[in-house]
């Protein structure tokens, strides 16, 4: 008999074949990280079922490698096993799509077999769907039924669970339907699989679906079918293909008892990097608990209390917290509830109960913060809204008036801020990465069938805690996989996870140059710190005893309540506007989704209507659908640049059409090449500003899934131009950029410089389109016409040198004139802002951050917050070259340093740096820009952007900046 044993990341599968290679036994089980135990159990069952048989055995699967090595059993790589099984059973299959727990694969069969596996990024896998179902609070088994009832699809980034979460949470908060979200999640998985793995090879012909998610979820298969435009098959035994393939490969006879024996020993082998135990013993732990009990608030009895009360609400991403306090800031009542998607009914219930139990309560004011701030404020007429950072600072001051550093770790967000001289001096938020947050721990605990409390308790005394490093969830998943492979216990993993949360917070989010930078007076808060293992790991990493208020989970709400009380004392407010019991009784809430038609962004809006007819609109990127007023764009240079680009319209010529893809450096080079080719008599067609549909057009041809989003966008633009039917697409390679005399050299970033090569090597030119991507150097103006003449002569025979010379001169002039126009407009904005007393934000990035799909409308958001927006190139021209502490060799990046330096003595200017996820150069520039600003006493703000479309976090960030600036001002004036 032949056994194939497939040890996956979440499940174990086995198949037994008889001598005729017929399946006589099969088994599929989740292993809940008890890998070896489950494997032993499975093999023992097989042995008992087929007594007196001789066995041959092959192990396969990502977690099986170590096991096979140890027990000296043959190992077959799982993709290869799949191929073997497919060759036997479905010989006419062309493509296999297999999704597993943490793996996603596309296998192209046929002449040259090619397999694509998800690399270091595990977005779009079964684990991702698991994680999302936890977020939706829906059992995984119900996801399919929900998805079947969907009416519409939202755009959800699936590149990694983290990004998807940040897309889904606001949708939930805005009241989107779970069924629509479930289906959208499936489509996100499809996009991720195809976008990340197809890499330019078309998925066509006979497509086979394998693996758990695709077997159990017909809706997911449907999503693949629809997207690929075909009908794939899910064969019999689709769960077992890998183990089946392994069984076919089994040749060598084994002594099954010996293998079982060996594997039972394998459990005790420990090979991972271990951390010291969190607590040596019970006594140490008890001392620790005792110490933290001291940081507590006053409490009062709500039943006997007679004075004024204030309500604070924190509508967080995964939990909702509310407190009622009295005049002495004593807590009279508090709740801490899970947010299962929609915060509105939870608050409704909270308020109703409060009124019913305490009919005489005298609510003077109320305040709300958190993700759900806007919707709750609108729904219940809460008096005040406060940005989260300020809420937490207000609360922390109560416990430690001279607090220097606050760190708050919540469900999926982390907020840290430094306090200097009593004002928020610096804010660190986790952008687009939540691996260090509580929901991560929770999801992990749940997959292992523990509550998060039990799970973290298991780690308190672990002696062999696994060192999991400090990177993204996805990486940790595979580190855990490795540790499990090596036999780590759940306790070891739990302690490791708690430690890595802390490390992630410190080394990834805060990144202090030295631990001392955080100061000695530290308050920690947020639900995640209620977890003793996390708290202990944090104190140990810092070497400081910190204050964890007993109400660590309530701090946002408590801060709000204090803020409401202080504000009411200040303004003399007598009574809160919050809905009364009577109003609550008739309260209703309905949600409708519509597409906003007010501009080309076509935001999908969720319109919440409440019983009294008031409305709240979510999902908007600008204030237009709310105020019905178009932003004037008068004080927004991004808008101006977009208009300039739009004005480059085709002029009919006699040399045919040439297309310019509007992406990366073309954002700045477009005026140059437009003039150059128009002058030569070409009709120049520039692809439009990006939108989602343009991105989707090209996503299947992206070879590197970790390259930055602006680069990925280019594929769609090239495709657009092909569809337009241009004769040629011109997108030159440019190692060098213009020399603006600001740095040591004038390079382009490697991706900007050479992306045309990626297009050439990975996109098939259709309709006879000619792709011109030669190397050109605009930095050598003198030689430029000669070199261009040589290049163009390869493609066009009739162009004379004199024509090219003339066109070149015009192009260089057009470039200068473009930059001048931008600067002039910038100066105009600065002047106007000064006249109107508005603050100016230098939204600093690269030329391509002008793209609305890349910047996600952050410029408009700034505008709606009453700020004027200019870009770095407006200011960099005003600066002379100066010394920086890095090699200043990229033209675009030199501008950043120059702009940062320029604003140091400008009271009304602040700099916000836009950073694209995956931008390698910004690992260098961000630190340097930060140090230039901070040495000059300015606050540094960085916003990381990706495919992600949610502006919620960005808004928190910007509002915090404004609040901090406001505070600084008050302080300086008083």
């Amino acid at each position: 008999m032949k056994i194939g044993l497939d040890v996956g990341s979440t499940t174990i599968k086995s198949v037994v074949l008889d001598s005729a290679e017929k399946i006589v036994y099969k088994c599929y089980e989740r292993h809940f990280s008890q890998i070896t135990a489950k494997a032993v159990e499975m093999l023992t069952n097989i042995k008992n079922k087929f007594k007196n048989e001789a066995f041959s055995l092959v192990i396969t699967g990502s977690a099986g490698m170590g096991m096979a090595d140890y027990s000296k059993v043959d190992f077959v790589q799982e993709v290869y096993a799949t191929k073997v099984a497919a060759d036997k059973n479905i010989p006419d299959a062309d493509v296999i799509i297999e999704l597993g727990g943490e793996d996603a694969k596309i296998i192209f069969l046929g002449q040259t077999m090619e397999a694509r596996m998800n690399g270091t990024c595990a977005g779009g896998t079964g684990a991702f769907i698991d994680q999302m179902s936890t977020l939706l609070d829906v059992p995984i088994s119900k996801m399919n039924d929900l998805a079947a009832k969907h009416e519409r699809i939202y755009t959800i980034a699936s590149r990694c669970g983290v990004f998807a979460k940040s897309d889904i949470q606001p949708l939930l908060n805005q009241g989107a339907k779970k069924s629509d979200i479930a289906a959208s999640i499936f489509y996100a998985v499809v996009n991720q699989t195809i976008g990340g793995l197809a890499q330019g090879r078309p998925v066509e012909g006979n497509v086979v679906y394998l693996g758990g998610p695709l077997t159990f979820m017909p809706e997911l298969r449907k999503a693949f079918d629809n997207t690929l435009g075909l009908k794939g098959i899910c064969p019999e035994n689709s769960l077992y293909y890998v183990s089946l393939g392994a069984a076919y490969c089994a040749k060598k006879e084994v002594d099954i008892d010996e293998v079982i024996q060996k594997l039972s020993h394998y459990i005790s082998v420990s090979e991972w990097n271990t951390l010291p135990p969190l607590f040596e013993n019970k006594e140490e732990y008890e001392k620790f608990v005792e110490r933290h009990k001291k940081a507590d608030v006053k409490y009062g009895n709500i039943n006997t209390y007679k004075g004024k009360t204030y309500i604070g609400i924190d509508a967080g991403s995964t939990t909702i917290k509310a407190v009622v306090i009295g005049e002495e800031k004593e807590i009279l009542h508090s709740v801490y509830l899970p947010n299962s998607g929609n915060p509105v009914p939870i608050i409704q219930k909270f308020l109703t109960e409060l009124y019913e139990k305490h009919p005489d309560i005298n609510i003077v004011s109320s305040c709300v913060t958190g993700y759900g701030e806007d919707i709750i404020k609108n729904a219940f007429h809460v008096d005040l809204g406060l940005v989260e950072t300020m809420a937490h600072f207000t609360a922390a001051k109560y416990f430690m008036p001279d607090v220097e550093f606050i760190i708050d770790i919540g469900g999926q967000d982390m907020k840290c801020f430094k306090i200097k001289n009593g004002v928020i001096d610096n804010i660190y938020l986790n952008e687009a990465c939540s691996s260090g947050c509580g929901s991560f721990l929770q999801t992990f605990a749940n997959t292992l069938c523990y509550s998060v409390e039990e799970f973290s308790k298991l780690g308190l005394f672990s002696k062999n805690a696994v060192d999991l490093g400090s990177r993204c969830t996805v990486f940790m998943n595979s580190s855990v996989k490795q540790a499990q492979k090596d036999g780590a216990t759940t306790g070891d993993i739990s302690a490791g996870l708690s430690t890595s949360i802390v490390k992630n917070a410190i080394y990834k989010v805060i990144r202090p140059s030295s631990i001392d930078e955080l100061g000695k007076k530290i308050v920690v808060q947020g639900g995640t710190f209620l977890n003793d293992a996390v708290l202990r790991a944090f104190e140990r990493e810092l070497g400081v005893n910190v204050v964890r208020p007993v109400i660590a989970g309530l701090m946002g709400a408590y801060g709000c309540a204090i803020y409401a009380a202080d504000t009411a004392n200040h303004t003399g407010q007598k009574s809160s506007l919050i809905l009364t019991l009577k109003e609550l009784k008739t309260f209703s809430h309905s949600v409708k989704t519509v597409n906003c038609g007010l501009c080309s962004n076509k935001c999908r809006l969720t319109v919440n209507t409440f019983g009294d007819g008031s409305k709240y609109i979510g999902g908007n990127r600008c204030e237009r659908p709310v105020t019905k007023r178009a932003s004037t764009g008068e004080l927004n240079i991004y808008k101006y640049k977009q208009e300039l680009l739009k004005s480059l319209t085709p002029v009919k010529g006699n040399r045919g059409t040439i297309g310019l893809p509007l992406g990366l450096n073309m954002y700045e080079m477009a005026p140059f090449w437009y003039r150059f080719f128009t002058e030569l008599g070409f009709e120049v067609i520039i692809s439009p500003l990006s939108d989602r549909s343009i991105f989707l057009k090209g996503q299947a041809t992206i070879p590197s899934d970790t390259v930055c989003f602006p680069a990925k966008m280019l594929h769609g633009h090239v495709k657009y131009l092909m569809e337009k039917g241009v004769d040629a697409i011109f997108y030159p390679c440019m190692s060098f950029n213009f020399d603006e005399n600001l740095g040591d050299n004038n390079y382009n970033c490697p991706v900007v410089a050479y992306y045309p090569e990626i297009i050439a090597a990975n996109m098939k030119m259709e309709n006879g389109v000619r792709f011109i991507n030669d190397y050109v150097g605009v930095h050598k103006r003198h030689d430029f016409p000669k070199k261009l003449a040589a290049i163009l002569s390869k493609y066009y025979s009739s162009i004379k040198y004199s024509e090219i010379k003339k066109a070149s001169d015009a192009a260089f002039m057009a470039h200068d004139s473009y930059l001048e126009k931008v600067r002039a407009k910038g100066d105009e904005i600065i002047k106007k802002a000064e006249d109107e007393g508005k603050r100016i934000i230098v939204l600093a990035g690269r030329p391509y951050h002008v793209d609305p799909e890349i910047n996600h409308g952050i410029d408009m958001l700034l505008e709606s917050l009453g700020l004027a927006v200019i870009s770095e190139d407006v200011l960099s021209g005003k600066m002379k070259r100066f010394h920086v502490n890095v090699l200043n060799q990229w033209t675009y990046h030199s501008r950043l340093y120059a702009a940062a330096k320029y604003i140091l003595d400008k009271k009304n200017m602040e700099l916000v740096q836009l950073v694209s996820f995956g931008c390698g150069l910004d690992a260098i520039t961000t630190d340097e820009v930060r140090s230039i600003l901070e040495n000059g006493g300015k606050i540094y703000t960085q916003i990381k952007i990706d495919e992600i479309t949610n502006l919620g976090t960005v808004k928190v960030r910007l509002r915090s900046l404004l609040a901090a600036l406001h505070q600084q001002e008050v302080k300086n004036n008083g």
Binding site: M117, G119, T120, F475, S513, C749, A761, Q889, T926
Partner: protein, 422 residues
């Protein structure tokens, strides 16, 4: 005690006094090459040590003091330095670090600056860091690359390349395990002795040495076995440094492979040639171009001597630098010069042509140039050469060995199947 002197921007200059008193620490990348170079500098009166410290602590220190999104190689090197400082093995007032600075549009030219920031952050603002370059990027009175030193260094590059090539083609077939490694040790020591007495780097002596080395390796008794032939290419540091690629060569040798790792000389030639290519493509300063051409010509002479020697033996070698250019015709432009540039896909194709169809393309996670010239070219190379079996592998502090090995094993399964069918 040597006085600490800084230039106008605050960079510590490595002075002549320091040369006498300080120990210069060098991160190891290629043991054969780097040991030879180390011995050259020791003979010149420097105290030099190669750093081969590794392990979780090194990575952790790198993460702690460097920006976490910086390239893996930079992170590891910083980690090695910091780990050395904290090891207690050295007097921290008497050590200096040295790293290679290539220049060019990739992030790597910034390593030295980032390293200075990191060392300062860690609380050691007085440790000098020397830039090893031949472009005159930073000057140090106590560290001068004289012509003999440069020539000896280039000689160690070519000796290293040769010994690496020979041992890789011998070790998997040795009858008596360990013979190749013993020869490596012997030749590193012999050549260093020659350098010390100003021998071994003239062309005549190089040719003689080449022949002797080849003869020595040919004499090792081997038994021919069917092995999977695998080429290793990629970003220069992770391709070579064991610590960075989790000892990829060893892993492959354990899985029945014979490994071919293209040498360092080609990469140097590519870097020198980049200036010439720039001039061809964009025009500009002629004088610098002439210098580059001279240097390239000199390197070609060394390469030529090497190739003639190997040609006479049973060992397989790859194409001469100049001959790799036509390979990428229609694939990627010769102006692609950042990082490994066009030379990386050229190496892949060259390997395929010489029977090393199975290729591991190593790249640090998020490495910018290899997005283009590594991963980005694989699809087209496979279309052009259907027998190419290439697997790009990302290396990173977060990437686990099990995932990397799994991907490589898939490549090996396909290779093994092909081997069986042949």
């Amino acid at each position: 005690m040597a006085e600490i002197i800084r230039d106008k921007y605050g960079r510590i200059i490595f002075t002549k006094e320091m040369k006498k008193e300080y120990t210069v620490l060098v991160p190891d990348m290629l043991p054969i090459h780097f040991n030879l170079m180390k011995n050259i500098f020791t003979a010149e009166g420097y105290k030099v040590e190669l750093l081969d410290n590794k392990g979780a602590n090194v990575k952790q220190l790198g993460l702690k003091y460097m920006h976490n999104d910086i390239c893996y190689p930079a992170l590891l090197v910083a980690g090695q330095f910091l780990d050395a400082i904290k090891s207690g093995k050295y007097d921290v007032n008497k050590i200096a670090f040295i790293i290679m600075q290539t220049g060019g549009g990739c992030r790597a030219s910034n390593y030295i600056h980032l390293l200075r920031k990191a060392i300062k952050k860690a609380g050691y603002p007085n440790i000098p860091i020397i830039s090893f370059n031949i472009s005159g990027l930073e000057k140090n009175s106590g560290f001068k690359l004289t012509l003999p030193i440069i020539r000896k260094t280039l000689a160690s590059v070519i000796y290293g390349d040769l010994i690496m090539l020979l041992s890789n083609q011998t070790r998997p077939y040795e009858v008596k395990k360990g013979e190749s490694d013993r020869l490596i040790k012997k030749w590193v020591s012999d050549l260093s002795k020659q350098f010390r007495v100003s021998k071994g780097y003239g062309f005549k002596q190089m040719r003689e040495n080449f022949d002797k080395i080849i003869r020595n390796f040919s004499d090792i008794k081997i038994e021919k076995k069917e092995k999977i032939k695998v080429g290793i290419v990629g970003e220069i540091y992770v391709k070579y440094a064991k610590f960075a690629n989790n000892d990829l060569e060893k892993f492959l040798e354990e899985h029945n492979c014979e490994v071919m790792v293209p040498g360092l000389l080609g990469f140097l030639m590519f870097k020198v040639d980049a200036r010439i290519q720039d001039h061809l493509l964009y025009g500009g300063n002629i004088i610098r171009n002439v210098l580059a051409k001279k240097l390239l010509h000199f390197l070609e002479k060394i390469e030529n001597a090497f190739m003639e020697a190997v040609e006479k033996s049973r060992f397989t070698q790859l194409s001469a630098y100049e001959h790799t250019k036509p390979l990428v015709n229609g694939l990627i432009g010769l102006g692609n010069r950042m990082g490994e540039g066009w030379f990386l896909p050229a190496e892949m194709i060259d390997l395929v042509n010489y029977g090393y169809e199975n290729i591991v393309c190593t790249q640090p996670f998020g490495c910018l140039p290899t997005h283009i010239c590594g991963k980005g070219m694989v699809h087209k190379i496979k279309t052009m050469y259907p027998n190419a079996n290439i697997v790009p592998v990302d290396y990173d502090t977060g990437a686990t060995k099990v995932n990397q090995e799994n991907r490589i094993k898939l490549m090996l399964s396909v290779a093994a199947e092909k081997l069986q069918n042949e």
